[in-house]
């Protein structure tokens, strides 16, 4: 990664941290830091993406503001992370959208909802949007099957590809000077466990500083709810597609069917998790927060919340005349999500996953 004001600042901070080491028991960042004496921008990017922003080190820091050293690792790491998202975005010019991320995500959401509504009205008889549709294939009478699948697979496929390119560029950019070691099973398993349990947001069992200098697991649980909720929704869609193609069972499915159950629980968890994380963000001690990045974070959480909420509403009103509009809004939001995915907070999952993998590898070196 290129040298910026933020990398120079975070290098200054890491050199103080590396001489102090009081935080060595907090998370994976500090033991990883102690493996180094000098910090390249690649090292700093790696450490920043390994940081889960639990804020434990900030509240414990004898050098935190107003101390003249002004050590604020969570804030500066968040800044470096955002810079790394921009630096490794694919295609490269798209990196710039990380500067006004809240605006981008919000605009994308409005535009794609509008687009889907307009397309629906243009392609179908507008009356279909307002009349109750029931029975097999009800959704596809509102939005044609080919359009739904076409838009979804194009946008999601693009997102996966762009994020994959970003991942490759990130992995190369943060490689230690000595070069790469082959990836083996044990570090992959450890990184996967880290991702699935968010161990680094547990503060070694007693919790993180979610709101202030008291310890809690609040953020970890909300993040889990969001993560697993998201995964359940994804599973619901996959199951639905499987039913459609291989079993010939067309949606809408019965309430107790697998896709509807996965989607309902997933949607509920997604709403709970994102609402919880939004709440934590608004009430937490602002000291260790990078305020400049909040817009994009709020926007992405709100988008995910709305996807979950409209999905649940769709389930509730799917036998009424409001189903058509709700379906268009829901799918418009999902489309927006797929489109902005490689250019939003969502990429942190990719880079943090890779940072955890690199950390697991380093520990074995």
């Amino acid at each position: 990664m290129s040298e910026t004001e933020a990398t120079i600042e975070v290098r200054r901070q890491m050199e103080i941290c590396n001489a102090c080491r009081y935080c060595e028991g907090y998370c994976a960042v500090f033991p990883a830091m102690t493996l180094r004496r000098e910090f390249t921008t690649g090292d700093l990017t790696h450490l920043a993406n390994l940081c889960h922003s639990c804020k434990g080190c900030y509240h414990a820091c004898q050098y935190a503001p107003p101390h003249p050293f002004g050590i604020n690792v969570p804030e500066t790491f968040a800044t470096i992370r955002a810079e790394s998202y921009a630096e490794y975005a694919w295609p490269a010019p798209m990196g710039r959208v990380f500067e006004r991320n809240g605006t981008l995500v919000t605009l994308a959401a409005f535009l794609s909802v509008t687009l889907v509504l307009l397309l629906t009205m243009a392609l179908q008889d507008p009356a279909i949007l307002y009349t109750a549709q029931t029975g097999t294939g009800a959704f596809f009478r509102v939005i044609p099957y080919w359009l739904m699948v076409g838009l979804a697979s194009l946008s999601f496929g693009y997102a996966l590809f762009a994020m994959g390119m970003g991942a490759v560029r990130y992995w190369r950019g943060t490689a230690p000077g000595a070069g790469q070691k082959p990836i083996t099973v044990a570090p992959v398993a450890e990184a996967a466990l880290d991702i699935l349990t968010l161990r680094n947001l547990g503060g070694g069992g007693h919790g993180c500083n979610d709101l202030d200098d008291s310890f809690a697991q609040t953020r970890r649980w909300f993040h889990h709810a969001m993560f697993y909720g998201f995964m359940l929704c994804f599973a619901a869609t996959t199951t639905g597609a499987f039913y459609h193609h291989f079993m010939g069972w067309k949606s809408p499915h019965a309430f107790l069917s697998l896709p509807v159950q996965l989607g309902s629980w997933g949607g509920a968890l997604l709403c709970l998790g994102t609402a919880g994380l939004l709440w934590v963000k608004t009430v937490t001690d602002p000291g260790p927060v990078a305020k400049r990045l909040l817009g994009g974070e709020y926007a992405m959480l709100a988008l995910l919340f709305l996807i979950g909420a409209t999905g649940l509403l769709l389930l509730v009103i799917r036998h009424t005349g409001a189903m058509g509009v709700m379906l268009a809004i829901h799918l418009g939001l999902v489309l927006a999500f797929f489109l902005v995915m490689p250019y939003s907070k969502m990429v942190h999952g990719v880079y943090r996953g890779l940072a955890l993998l690199r950390n697991a590898q380093e520990k074995r070196a």
């Binding site: 102090c20 009081y22 907090y26 414990a60």
Partner: protein, 465 residues
Amino acid sequence: MVDFARLWDVLVVGGGNAALSAAITAAQAGASVIIAEHAPKAMRGGNSRHTRNLRALHPKPTDVLTESYLEEEYWDDLLRVTGGRTDEGLARMCIRASEHAPGFLRDCGVVFQPSLSGTLSLSRTNAFFLGGGKALVNALYRTAEKLGITILYDTEVQHIAIEDGFAREAIVSWRGFPERIRCKAIIASAGGFQANREWLREYWGDAADNFQIRGTPYAQGRVLKDMLANGVQEVGDATQFHAVANDARAPMEDGGLAMRLDCVPFSIVVNKDVERFYDEGEDVWPKRYAIWGRLIAQQRDQRAFAITDSQALHNYLPSVFPPMKADSIGELAGLLGLDAAKLEGVVAEYNAAVQPGTFHGNKLDDCRTEGLAIPKSHWARRIDQPPFYGHPLAPGITFTFLGVKVNERARVMMADGKPSGNIFASGEIMAGNILGQGYLAGFGMTIGTVFGRIAGEEASKLVRN
């Protein structure tokens, strides 16, 4: 809003570990407690904010302490660093009580961690606070708040009105406004006077201007001076302090622990006149590092320089400020502002005196010199592998030893030899009772917690009668 008309059971002066241990103990026993902390909230906690661990006796391994550490060994360690200048009764009482200090702190929400990096080699004797002293201070304040203790920040106690060994009230500056706090008992936990350069100058002259104050700038010694002027018995040597070898580029105040340089045992140390002045390899770092601040304080301009080479670089912790680096000793001397020919001579003489041995970074090894006027007894290896490194050193003071005399019930003794009616003390302000000179890593926090608890207990007992 604070009710300054109220009569409090206990006023605790200070806001570090010793003060909070006292306040929490008194409040748990049912007393109404008010804390007057000189610092603003963000800088609260006195020197405790910069600490990291406490030394605790333990007969068997615990989850945070390895093996065992018993009274006799603890006492021997203390005896060695103090050179016998200690009150054996108080010291042994403190050592015995230290067994229960980690448990008390844990009950107050303090989290301990196993020692990870091992560079300090203290995991057997010292329990480490997860996140360090500020995390401990945060936990103690949270506990104090939960117990309903009133905490005044930005509040300096300026005078304690003492009559016949009995304190009735304290005059304080509360956010700059003069106020009175009336109370039935006072616990003084206001630290030493190390941040009061004028006072230090009384004993050290101009040298005091070059002392770096490692800890809180709020340790002005105002309460100590006031009490000594009002009939409280003095203890300890006014010229003694705990000081370490700090980076000469550290801030003059509040630089904290990370400014210390632990390269001394793996280097040779010269003063501005390019002369070695003490055996750098006398003992393992935790036991002997406390003497180096004082040694440097006695050198010209209170400066010294640790010289190492690339072989030694990874034997010690990295420093906040990068060391001077050069490809030859002569060039390094230039960077450090030293006489090049003289430094080359000192290094050559040292290298010639180094005997063959097996190097062990974490214990006393057999690498030593022979034939030097000032030997290096351990970890002596030739300094001949460029690049060479130079760390400029200055004395970094942790706390002063002059204090108020207390008895084993933490009750302050008056100059007439009688215990005060209702004044107690805990922490640095009375550490001089036990530490006549020298320092044992983590012992300050032990004294603070042990005497804090006793003071809190005794004060609450007194006010309930």
